[in-house]
């Protein structure tokens, strides 16, 4: 059985419908990638799963329970952590405080703690007392990932973690993904950078205009198929 799945998930922003019945599945210890152009609905999907957008209870199930109608803080405490688009560090908090806030109000046990996060991203240890927002974009992204890891989530949602970063920085950040997988988390990686996504994912979903247009293992998907699923046939 899937660890996390969405069934016929729809989402609206006022009168605008952003998702039209999206079904995805994430298995235990699996990594899936969700790719698609801007406005395909990838971020809306992430926001629906993590509870920032509320849905029908049955639209999202996690570990056997319906969580679609739960608020973000409850979903987080059940073990679904999010690295939000745009990193969203807290400007009033130092790097270390940004990491610590990931464990707010809970005793957590597991592989990840301040020490192991600093081992994963050594540069953060050097800058632990700086304000989070004084860091470079790549370092901020590391803080955002570390902050989510601190709660030792079973599911980690990564929304556009390569956005706006230089290729060499992206490579650095993606180097951490296998270690995160090895520590036992399942991942949903939202990406516009298809190559990066294909490299880390066990399976790939492609979205266009609020619908899943293609899914499968990276090996099974040809360039043409992805191109059509990405931009629509006829482009």
């Amino acid at each position: 059985m899937a660890l996390l799945q969405t069934q016929n998930l729809v989402a609206h922003y006022g009168d605008f419908q952003a998702l039209f019945g999206v079904d995805i599945e994430l298995g235990d210890a699996e990594t899936i990638a969700i790719i698609g152009a801007n406005g395909a609905g990838k971020t809306t999907l992430m926001r629906s799963i993590c509870g920032v957008l509320r849905n029908d209870a049955a639209a999202v199930t996690y570990d056997g329970t319906a969580i679609g109608a739960k608020p973000a803080d409850e979903i987080m405490s059940k073990g679904v952590a999010m690295v939000p688009e745009g990193r969203k560090l807290f400007p009033s908090l130092s790097v270390e405080e940004n990491l610590l806030i990931g464990t707010y109000g809970r005793k957590v046990s597991g592989h990840w703690n301040l020490k192991t996060v600093y081992e994963l991203f050594p540069i953060l240890a050097e800058r632990r007392n700086n304000p989070g927002t004084a860091l470079s974009g790549g370092q901020q992204q590391m803080v955002a990932i570390g902050r989510a890891l601190m709660s030792n989530p079973r599911v980690l949602l990564c929304d556009e973690i390569s956005l706006g970063l230089a290729p060499v920085v992206i490579k650095d950040i993606y180097k951490a993904i296998p270690q995160i997988k090895a520590a036992g988390a399942s991942l949903i990686v939202v990406e516009q950078d298809i190559a990066q996504a294909m490299a880390v994912a066990d399976r790939v979903y492609c979205m266009m205009e609020g619908r899943v247009t293609l899914s499968g293992t990276p090996e099974s998907l040809s360039r043409d198929k992805i191109h059509n699923a990405y931009f629509g046939a006829g482009h």
Binding site: A81, P84, F90, I101, Y104
Partner: protein, 287 residues
């Protein structure tokens, strides 16, 4: 010499105003909410202590410790079930709801306690004074000022040394992202207002010990508190203390010249600061 004495009395009076203002500053700092009923809540706190004192025969200094958790509860419930519903981009709902609350609270107190002025029972300690060189200082004003400093030190510790303080700052920065960290913004706001009302209770103790109070004096306390917060710079607690001191000194200096000018001098000091430093003396960078 008389001027030095006046200024020192003013500084100590500033401690009382800083106590009035700290709760206001805390709540504004975390949720950008200005509670227009703040002054009336101080007066309510004074009546609560008075009731405890007269019913249980306690000393006001003991009664305040019973009143504090009760007022925390009042603040928590008030924020969680009423004020949270007014937060948002529109400034009208929080203003009008807290204004309605102010009027309702004032008149509820009038109904319950009449317009007669009251005072908390004083004892030898509250009327005692100490001589520091040529200047005589009341123990009460000294105690008030020390409490204000302690409250501000305590709040700073809370903000920068505890997990709750981190959650306060994170929620203040970005409530949605904070909820992704497992924080419930609604409860964080409720806790903040609860703490603000604990400070209000301390302020109420000194309000009631130092002078007479009646149900109508809340709005004036709100105004002093507000002036101290603006002078200090929004969200800066030490600034708030300094703001309180400036209002206090201006008032005692004004009163020394002409007793009728006491309140006016405080307001004018505020307007002068607003004129030269519109963002206060210690403005926060990201406001």
């Amino acid at each position: 010499m008389i001027w030095i004495d006046t200024i020192i009395q003013g500084i100590l009076l500033g401690g009382l105003y800083a106590l009035f203002a700290s709760g206001l500053s805390l709540v504004f700092g975390i949720m950008r909410l200005v509670n227009l009923a703040h002054g009336d809540l101080i007066v309510m706190g004074a009546y609560l202590i008075l009731v405890l004192v007269s019913l249980l025969g306690l000393s006001p200094f003991i009664a305040v410790f019973i009143a504090m958790p009760a007022m925390f509860g009042v603040g928590w419930v008030l924020q969680r079930y009423l004020l949270n519903r007014t937060l948002g981009d529109d400034i009208l709902p929080p203003l009008l709801v807290t204004f309605g609350l102010s009027i309702a609270l004032q008149n509820a107190l009038l109904e319950g306690f009449s317009a007669d002025s009251q005072r908390l029972p004083t004892n030898a300690l509250t009327t005692a004074s100490v001589d520091v060189g040529p200047i005589t200082l009341g123990v009460m004003p000294l105690l008030t000022f020390a409490s204000a400093v302690l409250v501000i030190v305590g709040l700073n510790q809370l903000f920068y040394r505890t997990e709750l303080g981190r959650a306060f700052r994170a929620t203040s920065d970005d409530a949605t992202t904070a909820s992704l960290m497992g924080i419930k913004p609604a409860n964080i706001f409720a806790t903040a207002t609860g703490i603000a009302l604990v400070i209000v209770t301390i302020a109420a103790l000194y309000l009631g010990l130092r002078a007479n109070f009646d149900p109508n004096i809340g709005p004036a306390r709100l105004i002093y508190a507000f002036e101290a917060v603006i002078i200090g710079g929004l969200g800066s607690l030490w600034g708030t203390l300094l703001g309180g001191i400036i209002i206090g000194v201006a008032q005692t200096l004004g009163a020394a010249i002409n007793p009728e000018w006491q309140i006016l001098a405080g307001h004018i000091a505020f307007l002068i600061v607003l004129l030269v430093r519109p963002r206060g003396l210690f403005p926060r960078a990201n406001d």
